[in-house]
Symmetry: C2
Subunit: 144 residues, 2 copies
């Protein structure tokens, strides 16, 4: 469904959010350990998230990655996915047709509509906040 990069990105954001609540910045090393991902690759993904203004980075000593405490509730999964995988998950045709729309639909166009709309709705209505809170409370897990 998502690329590996996107999976890492989502998990990384959650871990960063948890730490930002405690005013702690985290490094790619810590993140990679916590979400069980390759460190250098994770760092690249973090860069993309920074460039797309999903998270912030502070260079130098005592630096690291963080996200504004009061923005966490407004950051949606869709922003993270879009920053990493782009928006083909929204716009792309299920069967890869260049031009696929109501007037010229691929064979699964209508069938797919429901699934994609549900996915889109989920991504746009799931906040980083709720995901982070569930991790904090031990209701869900970032690895194994």
């Amino acid at each position: 469904m998502f690329s590996k990069a996107c999976e890492y990105g989502i998990k990384a954001c959650i871990f960063i959010a948890i730490n930002s609540y405690e005013d702690r910045r985290v490094s790619p090393k810590e993140i990679a350990e916590e979400i069980n991902s390759p460190q250098a690759f994770t760092a690249k993904i973090l860069q993309a998230l920074v460039r797309n203004n999903v998270i912030k980075s502070v260079k130098g000593a005592y630096g690291g990655f963080e996200v504004s405490k009061n923005e966490i509730q407004y950051i949606k999964l869709s922003q993270i996915v879009k920053a990493i995988d782009g928006d083909n998950i929204y716009n792309g045709c299920g069967l890869g047709l260049e031009k696929c729309n109501e007037d010229h639909p691929c064979p699964v166009h209508d069938k797919f509509k429901g699934v994609r709309d549900e996915l889109k709705h989920m991504l746009e209505n799931t906040s980083l906040e709720e995901l982070a809170l569930n991790i904090k409370s031990g209701t869900s897990f970032l690895k194994t």
Copy 2:
């Protein structure tokens, strides 16, 4: 969402079905032209579909690929997808956790459930027949 291989596989099955209704076998060359896919790669995918008993092949002169006319209505999208992409689309965790279930869910486990159930339901309830009929009637398209 699906791999390229799977996209080609679905479109190929539809084209084969349409021709099987007319008792015509088709070659990878014809198929590739009709669904706008690389021929040799498409041939590989057809082999996988044959191995998984989704379609049938007949070697030698006047051979080609076909699907039993009276089976077309019972062949579901799910069979095609499973034959090519395997069943990780059903069982895999949305964030790639090795072990992700109700007792040990990933952060998006519940959120994802709806989307995946909808996808699964769609795949299991969409028959090759209806897809083929829509192509025949010009209601949907296999390329461009």
